[in-house]
Amino acid sequence: MPRGLTILGLESSCDDTAAAVVRQRAGARPEILASVVHGQTALHADYGGVVPEIAARAHAEKLDICVEEALAQAGIGLAEIDAVAVTAGPGLIGGVLSGVMCAKGIAAGAGLPLVGVNHLAGHALTPRLTDGLDFPYLALLVSGGHCQFLLVEGCDAFTRLGGTIDDAPGEAFDKTARLLGLPQPGGPAVERTARGGDPARFSFPRPLLDRPGCDMSFSGLKTALLRARDALIAEQGGLYEADRRDLCAGFQAALRDVLAEKSRRALDQCTGLTGFAVAGGVAANAAIRAALSSLAEAEGVPFLAPPLALCTDNAAMIAWAGLELFRAGHRDGFDLAARPRWPLDGAAPALLGSGRKGAKA
């Protein structure tokens, strides 16, 4: 294949509508020819979180527009595309369905193969897009919806070493911001406010550090923050800026400590790693990134954190994962289903969710 592979990717599993074009020529590094992301933050601002029906409505009327923008930015037509890759789960089902159906329409009309991509695989394979990282490596996916350690041994070979048994850290950042009257998304707001704060003033728990393994829990941390806030409000009738700084600093430090210690344990379980990569929106947090980076250095493993735009939800990672899968021979039929739940590692016991709908993670 002299001209290599050029893949169109679509992503709509949460509150970002995205389309991208990724190309890899034979023997060369992959290139992102276009990556378009339309966020929905403003649509959900009044609701204290992403409202699935509002998200689905926006995706359904935005996806084709994003694809047109991405193709225009890349300066190519569908005739130069080799396959259409689309997030087929896990995520908010209304959005995933809109993406899958739009992708089917594009693939059918253009006579192109269709590749359904696991959103988590998109995040986990991003270090290969950005840095050409070889297998096997350890990936920590840490975002608003997910938190798990994955040993990545191939584009469809993932072993989950551990993960959250309740909330995701990004969710905890958002909740913290709401509890403290800070804007959404909570991650950047809490990080900004934590600067200059005293992380030791409040004693926040480090859940599950006393237990072996790589599983994590963050819901108790949220509760501890709520209690500390309510105690201050009962005493003073409100919060001083210094209180907010110290609460944010303490919360962030607790989260950082849990992620760093569990990362150490995950690294210790693996041998022959080419690197330790972090992905997901929470990877943008400088304090967490610094802790993970120094841990990797101490363990003698290269540390990788993709640029922010490729850590948060985007379609370049879906196009790239689709490219790797396509090259490995994966194709999906037009009966491709959208899946709200889709664990990357089908063999690991469920951490979250069970019953009729199956494991969430």
Binding site: Y47, H59, A60, D64, S98, M101, R178, G238
Partner: protein
């Protein structure tokens, strides 16, 4: 090519079905309708390819796609609309949105009161007369408001008999299967520019404003 010679593929998943029709110059080449409560997203494209194959046409032979925009099941109308928009993009052909009301009224002589199930004991109603249409209303079936112009209209659709009795209309059956009706409405519209199809929800998203009250920030 005159508009009525157009080759149009129409489909609808706004209720518990997956329906499609392929028209060429006003002639139905192939049609399918399958009842299903779920699974439309998986079934739609295989069904469309069966219809095309039966009609002896390929995707590239189409002059337009037409899609039912609802109202109806939110997920169902998004499935069809997203598919239609993807097809419009890849085929460089228009995708034409047709409401469920227009589909019910298609080919009926005189004014029509179209009625669509809105769940929770409610019904969506719209009065149509040729190219004229009043604003749709959503009302409880057991407390329908008076609708000026409904008297004497043919009431077609969900609970048509009950609605007709209350509003002074007469109940009638749809003249055409839904996908064929959508294709015919779209065929008439092809001669003028059409907006991208958009779901017709007629009901807001269920969402409660955030319950967390921000704390007082002290000076």
């Amino acid at each position: 090519m005159p508009p009525d010679a157009a080759r149009i593929l129409a489909f609808d998943t706004s209720a518990a079905h997956c329906a499609a029709a392929l028209l060429s110059g006003g002639t139905v080449l192939a049609t399918r309708s399958e009842e299903m409560d779920r699974g439309q997203a998986e079934r739609l494209f295989p069904l469309l390819e069966e219809v095309l194959a039966e009609g002896g046409l390929g995707w590239r032979d189409l002059d337009a796609v037409a899609v039912g925009t609802g109202p109806g099941n939110f997920t169902g109308i998004r499935i069809a609309v997203a598919a239609a928009r993807g097809l419009a993009l890849s085929l460089s052909r228009p995708a034409i949105g047709v409401s469920g009301f227009e589909a019910l009224a298609e080919a009926a002589p005189g004014p029509v009161l179209a009625s669509i199930d809105a769940r929770r004991g409610m019904v969506h109603l719209q009065l149509l007369d040729g190219e004229q249409a009043a604003a749709p209303v959503t009302a409880p079936l057991d407390a329908l408001p008076p609708l000026p112009g409904a008297a004497g209209a043919a009431c077609i659709g969900h609970e048509a008999g009950a609605v007709a009795a209350v509003l002074g209309a007469r109940a009638a059956a749809p003249r055409l299967p839904v996908a064929q009706a959508i294709a015919q409405v779209a065929a008439r519209r092809r001669d003028r520019p059409q907006p991208r199809p958009a779901p017709l929800y007629l009901r807001g998203a269920d969402a409660a404003p955030a319950s967390d009250q921000p704390p007082v920030i002290l000076p």
